[in-house]
Amino acid sequence: MSLLQVKKLRVSYPGAISAAVSEVDFCIERGESLGIVGESGSGKTQTALAVMGLLPPNANASGSVMLHGEQILGAPTARLNQLRPQKMAMVFQDPMAALNPYRCIGKQLRTILRAHRIATGRVARDKVLSMLQKVGLPDPERQYGAYPHQLSGGMRQRVLIASALIAKPDLLIADEPTTALDVTVQAQILKLLQALRQELNTALLLITHDLGVVAGNCDRTVVMDRGRLVEEGSTLRIFAAPVHARTGALIAAAPRLDVAAESAPPPANELPLLEVDEISVSFRERRAGGGRQLRAVLPISFTVLPGETVAIVGESGSGKTSLVRAVLGLLPRNTGSVGFLGMALADGVRQRSNETRRQMQMVFQDPVASLDPAMHVSSIIAEPIQVQDPGTNAAGITRLVDEALDRVGLSQDLRARFPHELSGGQAQRVAIARALVMQPKILICDEAVAALDGTVRRDILKLLLAEQRRSSLSLIMITHDLAVVRQMSHRVLVMYMGRLCELASNDQLFGAPRHPYTRALLDSMPVADPEAVRQEIALWGEPSSMLQPPPGCVFHPRCTYAIARCKEEVPAVTECANGRVACHRAAELDLSTNP
């Protein structure tokens, strides 16, 4: 008998046109790991909620979900509360929302043990501490009394995994457990899940949109599309010979590093369009008496040529966004200057002339939040025209808006829609249209595709490439997704804790990186190929505190190549072929990618 047997599961909501989940069958054996992949809206999460008995009260569920031969669908809450988390448990995407902010983590874990009469008192405390140790929380004794907000995202996710596994369930459901985390932390969490699964013989149901995550972590894979199960099989077979067209499309859209760049050949030697010289940004802690200074960006220089794409990569908190916001004049800069076509630009966006402002536009991460919710699509795109050229008549505006919609591949029917009535991809296209209508020379994309599904992401990137070819637009792409970097960029700037680590051409960076941090980022990237050789974890731990950066090279606490000199001396940025690097050992280390 299978551990979990799902048969003809159907979940629907009153008022919805089609069922959220329909006719889904699958099973999980003891100790097995099963991946469910699909884009947003494919019914992955609804399936998981049905299995956990966590569907909202207005959901209609039919079919059967059997755990150990016991029916879960429609089981009374009291019984479900016995099964959770002793037989099954769940790890959610957002650990901050899943932990109680008012109780320290040790007490939250102990409550589970007490409520299920597993242990009390000292015994419970010891069990909690050993579980925290198992999930790799450094110094569990001290962290026992920590509150969720005092932990980093990766540490919170570890605590959540500890709370799911503390009652030793037979089945662990993880719903996008690493989506909100950096790649380096994602690799650590996935490794941890695998290790714990083997140690405790727990079955794992891993839900994700990222085929790279499934490829390295699941024995079998289920592909879902629009509420239906379209393909099921061993992960090896699914990747090698997908049967369903949808699976093929998902695999084709999966991020890969082993492909050539799609961007047009790098522009010939021209004068730089944008020159950023020694720019730095700092914030003051808000406290009585001034507070400490947080140096978000230390002096960094780079240039952007006409028609060139420069990618800026780094973990969250590395200062990528602060850097471009200072370039745009949205944040005051501490030192340095920004030159545009040989002209020095004013500090704030307000002080710049209409003409220079027009040249630099930005596309934001959250497409819906970057559009005014109270405005129609047509007024959103018309606004820049009205501001730039107040004399334009109504007919002229309509024509320009229609042209812009056409340019980004949107139908004119969308003109009267509100942002919340658009899909993520459509909203991002509107945001791009609003930027393009200004006819900028540089478009800055701050994680512009991070919130989008694989296939939609591909289309948006294609649109950007087409625009670049058409009007020799320069792009600055901030991203944590190295596949996007590989596909789009000519040159790459790698940042760590506000410092420049490496600046290199695309081929140089992916072929022979010079900085150990770049190497670690490349190795952390999950590869959508189940047969790829899995490396040991490339990068342990998380960045140090920005308020108290370590002495010497800020990366040395996590660097496998660190020597005594790295702990004392700050590495200077040195010029080298195809770029720059800031590492004491850059010359002697060979970090090339093995063919």
Partner: protein
């Protein structure tokens, strides 16, 4: 234009909420009767008739609510009271709306020292004892309806400014405001085009909650004898008059007091209903 759009959005949602429909309907009905009722009655709010003092309500002689201690028709006087009360409430709320929204939006958007200075000014005004202020005003100037508007508006806008400022602080951090700055929209343009329309939901809802507050303050002032002047009247003044007749003629107290209660209840329900509608989590996407 975008304010109009926000209005339309709200309008289409109102149709889906029964609480809003019923309480709004009752308020509208009371308002229409208060306007038209006195015109249809043969009596006037001024005429005293000492032979017909404290008549009980009767349909026959067109004395729907009876008469008061001076023999004046209570129906006409109550309707007039409703008119004055609603007028005070609406005008005072509009005053607080205009001042409060502009003040709060500017303080929130500009931020920094300007914000700190503007909000400390609000704190100082909060600290002044209100009744003391009103009595000073009444002594210094001639009592008039206008003065009551000023007095009530002067306290209501403080709350509105605080709420709008808080809301503005969170809206200005959103990415569409950055997008507008990059396009080159001026700070004033951003406040009018992007911030105020997005404040709309909160402000409308808050207004339906300040209206009952204004009504209560007016009634309270009139009850103390600081408000509206005879022979004009308001619901508060009528209740005050009714209290002295309570032992002989209960209706003189109960009718205006009951109407006041119904109006307050309806505004409160209306505010609750609108607040639920304006909650983005409850909006259909």
């Amino acid at each position: 234009m975008s304010t109009l759009v926000a209005l339309q959005q709200l309008g289409s949602q109102v149709r889906r909420s029964r609480v809003v429909l019923v309480s709004g309907g009752i308020l509208l009905a009371i308002g229409v009767i208060a306007l038209l009722g006195p015109l249809l009655s043969p009596h006037s709010y001024l005429d005293t008739d000492l032979d017909r003092r404290l008549l009980a309500p009767a349909f026959a002689a067109a004395r729907l609510f009876g008469t008061d201690d001076l023999g004046r028709d209570l129906f006409v006087r109550t309707m007039m009271g409703v008119q004055v009360t609603l007028l005070v409430a609406v005008v005072a709320s509009i005053v607080s709306l205009v001042i409060g929204v502009l003040y709060g939006a500017i303080a929130g958007f500009v931020g920094g020292r300007v914000d700190a200075l503007m909000m400390r000014a609000v704190d100082v005004l909060y600290a002044l004892p209100f009744i003391f202020l009103v009595i000073l005003l009444m002594v210094a100037f001639e009592r008039s309806l206008f003065l009551i508007f000023v007095a009530i508006g002067a306290i209501n806008w403080l709350d509105m400014a605080r709420i709008v400022r808080g809301q503005t602080l969170s809206i200005k951090e959103r990415e569409f405001v950055d997008a507008a700055r990059l396009i080159g929209v001026s700070p004033i343009g951003i406040i009018f085009r992007h911030i105020t329309p997005n404040l709309f939901g909160v402000v409308v809802v808050y207004m339906t909650l300040t209206i009952p507050q204004a009504i209560l303050v007016e009634s309270f002032l009139s009850f103390l004898g600081l408000g509206i002047q005879e022979p004009q009247t308001s619901l508060g003044a009528l209740v005050n008059g009714g209290v002295s007749q309570m032992e002989q003629a209960t209706w003189v107290l109960l009718i205006p007091a009951g109407l006041l209660a119904i109006i307050l209840l309806c505004f409160n329900f209306l505010g609750d209903g609108l607040r639920d509608l304006a909650d983005p989590r409850k909006q259909a996407t």
